[in-house]
Amino acid sequence: MTARIGVVTFPGSLDDRDTQRAIRLAGAEPVALWHKDKDLHQVDAVVLCGGFSYGDYLRAGAIARFSPVMETLIEQAKAGLPVLGICNGFQILTEAHLLPGTMLRNDHLHFICRDQKLRVENAETSWTTDYTAGQEIHIPLKNNDGQYVADEYTLDKLEAEGRVAFRYLDFNPNGSQRDIAGVTNEAGNVVGLMPHPEHAVEPLIGTGRTDGLPFFTSILKKLVNA
C-alpha cells in the first residue's frame, strides 16, 4: 500500500503541481485538494505548498488561513494529521496558529531566489526522519516575506524543545531570527519551512540536487509503517 498525500490549491498557489510531482517521485499518491472544499478526502497527510495565495494581499497567508479547507485541516492537524507547510504554506500555518512565530518581509526588502544551505536540526518530525540530525542540505529558497520572527520567550522555548527544525547555514537570506528556516509543532506532525524541498527532487532540474526528496520519503515511510 502507499500513502495518499493531499496538496491544497488556494487561489494563487503556485507549487501545487510541483509538490504533487515530488510526492509521486517519492512513491506516494498525490491528491489534489481544493480550498473551497472542507473535505480532506481521507488523505493521510497534507502539504500546503508555496505561492502567493490571494496575492499575498493583506499579509502572506492571512486570507488563505480562513479558507473552508483550513477549518478541517486545523482540527485534524491538532489531532495528529501530518501537515507540511512550504513557504506560503508555512506562512499559512503560522497565521492559523498551528506553528508559532510569523514572517516579515525580507530584511533587504527584495525577493530572493537562491540555492540555500540548511542544517537539519530535528530529524524526528514526521517529515524529516530520512535525514540525520545535523545533516547539511541545499534547498532552493525563493520568497519575499521570509524573515522569521517571534518573541524571545517563544524562541527560547523552541530552541529548548528542539522545535527549530531547520536553520540557514553560511548566509541568512532574509534576516530570520536565530537563522531559523523552519520549525515544528510540539508533536512533530506539523512542520513549516521557507525553502522549497519540492524543487530539489530531480537531478536534472533546478539546482540539480535531490536534497529535498527525504521530506516526502520520510512521511511515506511513517504512514506506510504506521
Binding site: P11, G12, L14, D15, R17, D18, R21, A22, K36, G50, G51, F52, Y54, G55, D56, Y57, H108, H110, F111, I112, C113, R114, P140, K142, N144, H196, E198, H199, V201, E202, L204, I205, G206, T207
Partner: protein, 760 residues
C-alpha cells in the same frame, strides 16, 4: 448640470460639423479624413477613440509595416511553423505532439514613467498573449537596457523595473530563465524593457483570435474595467514624451487619467488557470487578450478575423469606476482581462469555471451574421463600423529613409587602431577591468530577484547561454530560448548588427545543445519620422529577414517599438532577437560551468582582429566606431551543428558561446560558475590581446573529456570547422601562459561585486 446628448451614429450623421479632438488623440489630419471617408460621415466619439488607438503606431505598425513584410516574403521553408505572424504569438511544432508559442514585446515607455508597474504589466501582457494561443505559460525572459550604470536615474529605474518583473512574474509562478541586462548612456532617458514568454500546448489545443458562428456569445472576463491606461497605446507608445504631456482623455474631462496601467498578478494567475480549464473542456471558439487598446482592439480584431460581425452592449462591461464614458471604456487598458467567444450552450459551463476561480465574467455581446461591429451604450448605437477598417486597414506609411551622413565617419573611426595594452601587466589590468565592468559583470543581484525554479521544469536558467525548460517528464523533451541584441554593433552597421543579434541568440541556443527552430523579435528604434532612424530600421529588418532565410529559422511574430529617444537623440538601433530551440532529451544539455579538472579546452571558429563595437573598446576607451564583427551565417550553422552533435553524443561537458568581452569573458564565466580555473595557451598566429578580447562571431569554447578528444577532433575535422586546443581546466586561477595569472577569488570579487555596489 446639463448633459450633452449621447454621440450616437445617428447623432454623428446629423451633426457633421462637430469638431472632434482627433489631434489630441494622436491622429494626423489625413488619417482623420480617411476615417470620415471610410464611414461616409464624421465618426462618433466612440468610433474616433477606437480608430485613434488602433491606428496608433503601437497597434497598427503603420511606419514599419512596409518593411516587416520581408519577414513573410523571405520566410524560409519550415515544417515547424504552425501559426505565423499576425496572431497573438507564433506557434512552433517541437515534436511528440507538442507545440510551443513564444513572443517578445516591449514596454519601454511605461517603464520609464513608472518603472515598477510599467515592467510588471509588460510581463502581464506578454503572458496573456501566450494564454490566448491556448498554451500554458511555462517561462519568461527579460531583455533589459538601461542608461549608464552609475547614472543616478538608473538607480531610480532599474530597481523598480526588476522589482516589477519579479513582483509580477514570481506571483504568476513563471520561472524567469533568461534575458539580458545592458547599460549604455544612449538608453538614459529611454530604458528598453522587453519581455518574452513561452507557452506549451498540444497541437490540438491551438486557439485563435477570431469570432465565428452567428449567435455565439462574446464573454469579457477577468478584472473590472477602470480608468487606467487610457490612451496608453496611442499616446505613450506612439509619441515622444514631450507630446505625451498634453495627453487628454478625449471626453473633455479635465482630469488626466494615468496612462500607465496598474497590474494585479494575482488576478492574472486566476485568469490563466480559469482560461486553461475552459480550453481543456473545449468551451472556447475564439479568444483574444485585452492589451494595448483594450476592448477596441479585442472586439475589432475578433470580429474582423472571424466570419461574421459582432454586436456589443457596452453597458454590460463590469466597471471599477462608474463615471467612465463609453469612449474611455473602449480605450481603457486595464490589465488582466480577456475576451472569449463561446457557443450559447457552453456559456453556463464557461461562467461556472470563471466562478470557481472567482473571476468575474460577463456576456457583453454576440457574433452576428452581418459584417459590422456595432456597439451600444444606453440603448443608442455609438459604433457602427467595418471591423477590418479598424483592425487591419490602418494607414501605411512609406516613411522616407536615408543613410545618415555621419555613418561613414563612424565606420571610419576604426576601433582596431585604438591603443592596445603594451605589457602583460597592462593586459591583465584591462581584463580585470573588463570582467568587472557593468555590462560584463555578473547580474545575479538582479536575476536572484526572479524565481527560476517554480513549475519544477527548469533545466537551465541565467547565466547559462540559453534558458531551458523540460516539456515532457517521460521523454525529456525540452525547449530552449535565448535573447540577444547589441545596439553598439547595430549602430555601426544596422544590417549586420541585426544579423549578429540573430547569430548570437542562435549560437546560444545551440551551445546548450538545442536545435534552433524559430525567431521572435523586438525591434527598438528611435523616431520613424527621422530618416536616419528609418534607415536604421529598414536596414535592420532587411538584415534580419535575410539572415532568418539563410539560417532556416522563420520569424513567428514580434513587436516594434519606435520613438525610443530623448529629445532629438535616438537610442542605438536595438533589434533584440529571441531564438527558440528544441532538445530531444534535456539530460543531454550542455551547461556553461566547467565540470571537471583535466578536461581540454577547445576554441571553435576563427579569431580575427575585430574590436569595432567591442566591450573592450567601450570599457577601456569609451569608444564606439569602426565595423562590427563579420557575419558568416554558414559558419554559424556549422558551429551549431557541431555543438548539438557533441552534446547529443556526450563529447563535451561544458560549452560557452563567445560574444561581447570575447574569449576571456567566456572562460572567466565558465570558471567562476564551475569553481574551477583554467590554463590557457595563446595559439600560434594570434597575439594574446586578440586571442583574449576579439569579438569575432561564430565561435564557442568547449571543454572536452580526454576520452572524447579524438572523436571530437575527428568530427570537427570531417565537417571542416576550425578547432584549436587552447588549454585545460585546472586549478583555482586563470593562467594565461606567458602573460598573467588571476586567481578565481580576485576574478569573483571583480565580477560579482560591481552590480550590488552600484545598485544595492
Amino acid at each position: 448640470m446639463s448633459r450633452t446628448p449621447l454621440d450616437t451614429v445617428e447623432h454623428a450623421a446629423a451633426t457633421p460639423d462637430v469638431e472632434l479632438p482627433w489631434a489630441e488623440l494622436g491622429l494626423k489630419k489625413d488619417e482623420y479624413e480617411r476615417v470620415v471617408e471610410i464611414l461616409g460621415r464624421r465618426p462618433t466619439g466612440a468610433e474616433l477613440a477606437m480608430y485613434s488607438v488602433m491606428w496608433s503606431e503601437h497597434c497598427s505598425y503603420k511606419s514599419s509595416k512596409v518593411h516587416l513584410r520581408q519577414f513573410g516574403e523571405k520566410a524560409p521553408q519550415s515544417d515547424a511553423l504552425l501559426v505565423g505572424i499576425g496572431e497573438n504569438a507564433g506557434v512552433v511544432d517541437v515534436g511528440q505532439g507538442y507545440a510551443v508559442t513564444f513572443k517578445v514585446e516591449s514596454h519601454n515607455h511605461p517603464s520609464y514613467v513608472e518603472p515598477y508597474q510599467g515592467a510588471a504589466t509588460g510581463v502581464g501582457g506578454i503572458v496573456r498573449d501566450i494564454i490566448a494561443m491556448g498554451a500554458r505559460p511555462v517561462a519568461v525572459v527579460d531583455p533589459l537596457r538601461f542608461g549608464a550604470a552609475d547614472h543616478p536615474d538608473t538607480k531610480r529605474v532599474l530597481p523598480g523595473v526588476v522589482a516589477g518583473i519579479g513582483g509580477y512574474g514570481n506571483c504568476l509562478g513563471l520561472p524567469n530563465i533568461g534575458g539580458e541586462v545592458v547599460f549604455d548612456a544612449c538608453y538614459q532617458g529611454n530604458p528598453l524593457v522587453n519581455a518574452g514568454a513561452i507557452g506549451v500546448m498540444r497541437h490540438e489545443d491551438i486557439h485563435l483570435a477570431k469570432a465565428s458562428g452567428a449567435g455565439n456569445k462574446v464573454i469579457l472576463y477577468g478584472a473590472r474595467t477602470g480608468g487606467d491606461g487610457i490612451g496608453g497605446a496611442s499616446i505613450l507608445a506612439s509619441e515622444t514624451f514631450d507630446a505625451a504631456s498634453d495627453s487628454a482623455s478625449g471626453t473633455g474631462k479635465p482630469a488626466k487619467r494615468p496612462a500607465v496601467q496598474v497590474g494585479d498578478p494575482f488576478q492574472e494567475k486566476l485568469l490563466i488557470e480559469c482560461t486553461l480549464e475552459a480550453f481543456k473542456e473545449k468551451l472556447v471558439v475564439g479568444i483574444q487578450d485585452l492589451g494595448a487598446a483594450g476592448l477596441s482592439c479585442a472586439t475589432s480584431e475578433l470580429a474582423s478575423n472571424g466570419s461574421g460581425g459582432m454586436r456589443v452592449t457596452l453597458d454590460d462591461v463590469p466597471l471599477r469606476d462608474s463615471t467612465l464614458s463609453p469612449e474611455e471604456i473602449l480605450m481603457s487598458e486595464s490589465q488582466e482581462r480577456m475576451c472569449a467567444v463561446v457557443e450559447p450552450d457552453k456559456v453556463d459551463r464557461f461562467l461556472e469555471i470563471c466562478d470557481k476561480w472567482d473571476v468575474i465574467a460577463t456576456v457583453i455581446g454576440e457574433v452576428t451574421d452581418g459584417d459590422r461591429l456595432e456597439i451600444f451604450w444606453h440603448g443608442g448605437k455609438i459604433v457602427d463600423v467595418d471591423p477590418r477598417t479598424v483592425a487591419h486597414d490602418g494607414p501605411v506609411y512609406e516613411r522616407p529613409y536615408a543613410r545618415p551622413d555621419w555613418q561613414d565617419a563612424l565606420q571610419a573611426d576604426d576601433a582596431n587602431k585604438l591603443p592596445r595594452p603594451e605589457t602583460s601587466e597592462e593586459l591583465k589590468d584591462q581584463v580585470l577591468k573588463l570582467v568587472a565592468s557593468p555590462n560584463q559583470a555578473s547580474k545575479s543581484w538582479i536575476t536572484s530577484q526572479y524565481d527560476r525554479f517554480v513549475q519544477g521544469n527548469t533545466v537551465l536558467a541565467q547565466p547559462e547561454d540559453s534558458g531551458m525548460i523540460r516539456v515532457d517528464e517521460e521523454s525529456g523533451l525540452g525547449v530552449a530560448i535565448a535573447t540577444d541584441g547589441n545596439g553598439r554593433y547595430a549602430k555601426l552597421d544596422p544590417y549586420h548588427g541585426a544579423q549578429l543579434a540573430l547569430a548570437e541568440a542562435y549560437r546560444n541556443v545551440a551551445t546548450t545543445g538545442a536545435k534552433p527552430l524559430a525567431v521572435s523579435d523586438c525591434l527598438n528604434f528611435g523616431s520613424p519620422e527621422d530618416p536616419a532612424v528609418m534607415w536604421q530600421f529598414a536596414e535592420a529588418v532587411r538584415g534580419l529577414a535575410d539572415a532568418c532565410q539563410q539560417l532556416g529559422t522563420p520569424v513567428t511574430g514580434g513587436n516594434v517599438s519606435l520613438y525610443n529617444q530623448t529629445g532629438e537623440v535616438a537610442i542605438h538601433p536595438t533589434p533584440v532577437v529571441a531564438v527558440l530551440g528544441v532538445i530531444d532529451d534535456v539530460a543531454r544539455r550542455t551547461p556553461v560551468a566547467f565540470q571537471e579538472e583535466g578536461q581540454l579546452l577547445y576554441l571553435l571558429g576563427d579569431t580575427r582582429e575585430e574590436f569595432g563595437g567591442s566591450a573592450w573598446s567601450q570599457v577601456v576607451h569609451d569608444h564606439l566606431g569602426g565595423l562590427p564583427p563579420q557575419v558568416d551565417l554558414e559558419r554559424e550553422r556549422l558551429l551549431a551543428e557541431i555543438l548539438i552533435s557533441a552534446s547529443r553524443d556526450g563529447m563535451i561537458d561544458s560549452a560557452h558561446d563567445l560574444s561581447d568581452g570575447g574569449l576571456i569573458q567566456a572562460v572567466v564565466e565558465s570558471a567562476l560558475l564551475g569553481g574551477k580555473g583554467a590554463r590557457l595557451i595563446v595559439p600560434d598566429g594570434l597575439d594574446a590581446f586578440t586571442f583574449l578580447l576579439s569579438e569575432s562571431a561564430g565561435r564557442a569554447v568547449v571543454a572536452v573529456p580526454r576520452s572524447e578528444e579524438v572523436r571530437f577532433n575527428d568530427m570537427c575535422g570531417a565537417r571542416g570547422l576550425p578547432v584549436t586546443r587552447i588549454g585545460v581546466v585546472d586549478g583555482d586561477t586563470i593562467d594565461v601562459q606567458g602573460e598573467f595569472t588571476l586567481t578565481l577569488e580576485e576574478l569573483r570579487t571583480a565580477h560579482e561585486g560591481t552590480i550590488p555596489a552600484l545598485l544595492a
